[in-house]
Symmetry: C2
C-alpha cells in the first residue's frame, strides 16, 4: 500500500503535543530523590507485615469490585460523604481526564500558572480552550478580581490546586467562594496536598454548591504507587461522570490496599506530622542561603528561586553531579526548583549540599 498518513486519523491537538516526560530515576540507587512529592517514609515493620498478609488474599483472577461494601463504607466514614457522591480514579490524572472529556467544547478551562501541568495538557488534547491565569509574581496569589480577567461570554471551569503545586501557597478562599456563587462557573478544587496544610477541605461545601468538584488522592502521603484518587461532587455532576468512568478503572490490589490503609491511617498521620515539622526545618535552613529565595509552603514541598539566573548552569551541573534530583521547570520557570520535603536525614543531606554549593559560588 502507499504510505500511511497519521494526519488522516490523528487529530491536530494530539499531533501538536509533546509526550510528557517521566524522570527516569532508579529508586533503588542512592540518589537524593526529592522531585516528585512522594513520601519517603517507609512503612513500619509491623504494619508492613500486616499489609502483606492482607493483600496476598486479593482475588487477582477476578475483575475488581468497585462496589465493595467494606471499601465504600470506609471511605464514607473517612470523608463523611455518601458513596453516591464520589467516584474512584486511577490517580487524580484520570479524574482530571474524566472531567475534561465530559465538557462541552464551548466551556473555557481556566488554569492558574504556575500550577499542575496536567490540567493544561489534558485540556489541550480534549480540544478545549485553555486560558492561563497568571499568578501574582510576588506571592502567587490569584488576581483578586478574577472574573475580570476571564471570558465572561462563555461558561468557565476553573482548576485550583489547593494548596497550589508547585508554589505551595493556598489561594484566597473568598475568591473561590465568589466563583462558586456564579452558576456559570464550574470549580474544581484539587486537594492533593491538603493533608499538609491544616486548611479546611472544600468537601464541606459540596451540599451548598452544585458546581463544585473536589479531588483527593493518597499519592502524596505515602501511596503514590497505588494510583488512587477520588472525585467528589453533587448528584447532578457525579451522575454524568459515572457514565464515562471506565467500569474497572481501579485494580484489585489497589482496592485491597486502600481498604487496609484506611483502617491503619495512624501510620500516615504520624508521617504527615513529621513532614510538616521537617518542612519548617528545611525552610529555615534553606532561607538563610544567599543564592536562593525560598517560598513559604503549606504542602510537602518547597519552591525555591535562584537569586541570580547566571548561577543556573552551575547549579544544574552541581545537582546532576551529586545525583540530587529535584524538580526544575520550563516555560519561564527555569530558575525555579521544587524540592520535596524528605526525611530529616535527607533534608540534612540536601542542606549540606546546598551550603557546599553556596560556598563555591
Amino acid at each position: 500500500m502507499s504510505s500511511f498518513n497519521t494526519d488522516d486519523f490523528i487529530k491536530d491537538s494530539v499531533r501538536k503535543l509533546k509526550a510528557y516526560q517521566v524522570n527516569e530515576v532508579d529508586a533503588h540507587k542512592k540518589a537524593l530523590k526529592l522531585d516528585a512529592n512522594e513520601s519517603n517514609y517507609i512503612l513500619g515493620k509491623n504494619i508492613k507485615k500486616k499489609y502483606a498478609d492482607y493483600i496476598k488474599n486479593t482475588l487477582i483472577n477476578l475483575y475488581p469490585d468497585p462496589n465493595s461494601k467494606n471499601l465504600l463504607k470506609s471511605i464514607e466514614k473517612f470523608y463523611g460523604i455518601s458513596s453516591k457522591n464520589f467516584i474512584f480514579g486511577n490517580g487524580s490524572d484520570e479524574l482530571i481526564s474524566i472531567i475534561l472529556l465530559s465538557l462541552n467544547k464551548s466551556v473555557t478551562v481556566n488554569i492558574p500558572a504556575p500550577s499542575f501541568s496536567m490540567y493544561e495538557i489534558i485540556a489541550k488534547y480534549n480540544d478545549l480552550n485553555a486560558k492561563i491565569i497568571r499568578l501574582n509574581d510576588e506571592n502567587f496569589d490569584l488576581p483578586a478580581n478574577i472574573e475580570s480577567v476571564v471570558d465572561k461570554n462563555t461558561k468557565n471551569l476553573y482548576f485550583f490546586s489547593y494548596p497550589n503545586n508547585p508554589t505551595g501557597n493556598h489561594f484566597d478562599r473568598k475568591i473561590i467562594y465568589g466563583l462558586l456563587e456564579n452558576k456559570n462557573n464550574l470549580v474544581v478544587v484539587d486537594e492533593a496536598y491538603i493533608f499538609f496544610s491544616g486548611e479546611k477541605s472544600f468537601l464541606n461545601e459540596l451540599t451548598k454548591y452544585e458546581n463544585l468538584i473536589v479531588l483527593k488522592t493518597f499519592s502524596k502521603i505515602g501511596l503514590a504507587g497505588l494510583r488512587f484518587g477520588l472525585l467528589f461532587s453533587g448528584d447532578k455532576l457525579i451522575n454524568e461522570f459515572k457514565k464515562i468512568k471506565l467500569p474497572y478503572n481501579i485494580n484489585s490490589l489497589t482496592l485491597s490496599s486502600i481498604e487496609f490503609f484506611l483502617k491503619n491511617f495512624d501510620e500516615f498521620e504520624k508521617n504527615i506530622k513529621k513532614t510538616v515539622k521537617q518542612r519548617k526545618v528545611l525552610y529555615e535552613k534553606l532561607s538563610v542561603l544567599p543564592f536562593i529565595k525560598v517560598y513559604r509552603s503549606d504542602a510537602n514541598f518547597l519552591l525555591i528561586k535562584l537569586n541570580d539566573e547566571k548561577n543556573k548552569i552551575k547549579f544544574d551541573n552541581f545537582l546532576n553531579g551529586n545525583n540530587i534530583i529535584i524538580r526544575n521547570f520550563t516555560g519561564g520557570m527555569e530558575i525555579y526548583y521544587r524540592i520535596t520535603v524528605g526525611t530529616a536525614k535527607e533534608n540534612k543531606k540536601l542542606v549540606d549540599y546546598f551550603i557546599e554549593f553556596s560556598k563555591n559560588l
Copy 2:
C-alpha cells in the same frame, strides 16, 4: 445562586448515555460465577507464596516506574516486539479510550455487532460516528465484501475482537488483511482471547502494516484484577498514543505482578490448556441439550441461544434462583447467553443444572 444547569457544561453525548452497570456479585459467596470471562483457576500454593514475597517489596510510596528496564525487557521477550512499539493500559478499556480520544472527528468507527460493548460506548462519548457492522446471523462472520457496507467517503477505523466476544469465533483473516491493504483504514485487532484460540497473533504483521493496532491483555488468563493491557503499533501511531497516555497509568503493584508472572508463565500456560480442554467438554455436554443452541468457540466462553424465546423468563428465573451467574445481553440479543468456561467442577455443576432445567421444561 440560581440552580446550576449541567447542560451548560456537560456535552450531549455524555448526557445521553447510561452508566455501564457492573454486575454486583459477591465473589466470596458460593455462586456459580461464569459471567465475566475470568479464569477461575487459583494459583498454586508454591507460586502464590513466591508471588506474595515478590510484591511485598514494591515501593508503593513512590510513583510507578513505567520505564522499568526489567519489565520492558520481559515484555519485549514475551511478545518479540521492541518496547518502543508498545504502551501499557489500565486494562484494554483504557487503550480503547486512548485510540478513540486521539481520532479526528471525521473518522468513522466501524464496530461489528455483536461484539465487545465498550467499543461503541467509548466511541459515542468521544463524539465519533460509530457504524455497526451486523455479523452474519448463522455463524457471526463478517460480510465478505466488507468495504461495500461501510462509508467510503471517510477514513475508517475498525475494531475486531479476535476471537470475537461474545460469539467466540474468529473472523476471516483475509478480510482483515484486505482492509489493512487500504491506507484509508485503521484496523484494531483486539486479541484479548487469543490465548485460547491457537490462532496466530497479528503482532507478526506490525512491521508490514503501519495502519494496524494490536491490543493484548492478561485479564482472561487469570489476572483480571490487575488491569493490565498492552497496545502495539508501528512507530508513527505509537508516538501519537504516547502523548495522551497518562504518565503513571499503571500502578506499582500491577507492574511488579506482571514482572513476576512473566517469569512464571508456565502456571498460566497450564491453566489455558485446561480451559481449552474444558471448553470442548462443556461444548459437548451442552450441545446435546434440546432447549439451547451452542456455538463453537475459540475463546474461554461459549455462546448459547435459547431455541424458544418463550423459555426466557423461566430460564432467567432458574438462573437467579440457583445463583448461577452467566452473561445475558440486551439489544436484540435477549435469548443469547455467554458462559465462561469454568473449572471441571464448575462446568459439571452447570451442566447438571441445565439438565435439570431441561427436564422440567
